[in-house]
Amino acid sequence: MKMSDSNIKMVAPPEGVSGEGFFATTLNDVVGLARANSLWPLPFATSCCGIEFMATMASHYDLARFGSERVSFSPRQADMLLVMGTISKKMGPILRQVYEQMAEPRWVIAVGACASSGGVFDTYSVLQGIDKVIPVDVYVPGCPPRPEQIVDGVMRLQDLVKSESVRRRSSPEYQELLKSYNIK
């Protein structure tokens, strides 16, 4: 069977120079392409947004299409932390510990109103957005967001990952960011 008859969609190659038997591009683009299409999610689900994420992972919405097939329940092997639901202040340090256990490079998506800003829970016991304790890359609005919105959030993160420099994680700006959260 020829490739053109197959139903498998391939990711387009990055910009580069190709010729007979070779293809040349930048390391950034190759690494970004590889990272963006194998983002292993770590679901940190505390309420209804987590239910929406279950639908997102299941066959109908099928997040596996984006290379996020393998849900990691260990922070050590995860790339993308998805925080879904209300985070109480008592749980703040635990969320932070989970984030600290993830290996670089790591990204965070705040799914839903509660994770993004505290949502309707403007009260003494609830953390007013997870960006008070860990840095966040993408915010997904909604209460709860539909699976399409979560998929869109993952795609926006893929855009970020694709264009991220391989040197960003050792840059002074990134160290400054972590320092502002008092992480390591």
Partner: protein, 173 residues
């Protein structure tokens, strides 16, 4: 033969005299007030008396009455249940706002341990003799007792809640 409320009242008044008062029927729960310093004796009596047999402590909680006089600022409410007769009672003990102290009943009902911790957590009511009076639901670093009326319910760190965006201001500037 079911347990009548008059029988409960008579037995309590006979044993504790003026330390038990304000008997009334609130909805379908027989309720009364007790003097706070007699609470352990009264709960123990209600539990062990062969006819009363209130063998189950359903709930312990606090109430804050900021408008009351100082001596009646806080109350601790106990709900007890007699499983043999399916009879419930509610006991209220009022305590001072300056020194909200009351004796623990966790020695009588071990289930009171966590309920008293919760009451301390939210109202700052000190249960004398409690084996481990520390926060149970809120984070350990919290300094306030949030269900007291003087503490704000809303989180001060909220940054996106601008009244202008919710139509709560007149001028909307």
């Amino acid at each position: 033969m079911s347990l009548e409320t008059t029988e409960i009242q008579d037995k309590l008044v006979e044993t504790f005299g003026e330390s038990v008062f304000h008997f009334n029927q609130e909805k379908d729960v027989f309720s009364f007030e007790v003097a706070a310093d007699k609470i352990t004796a009264i709960v123990l009596f209600l539990k062990n008396d062969p006819t009363l047999r209130f063998n189950f402590l359903t709930d312990v909680c606090g109430v804050h009455y900021p408008d009351n006089e100082t001596e009646r600022q806080f109350s601790v409410v106990y709900h007890m249940h007699n499983w043999y007769e399916n009879k419930r009672i509610k006991i209220k003990a009022f305590i001072s706002g300056e020194t909200p102290d009351i004796k623990t009943i966790s020695t009588i009902f071990p289930s009171a341990n966590w309920m008293e911790r919760e009451t301390w957590d939210f109202y700052g009511i000190n249960f004398i003799g409690h084996p481990q009076l520390k926060r149970i639901l809120n984070m350990d670093e919290m300094v306030s007792h949030p269900m007291r009326k003087e503490f704000p319910m809303e989180d001060g760190g909220r940054t996106d809640k601008d009244d202008r965006f919710f139509g709560r201001t007149q001028s909307n500037r």
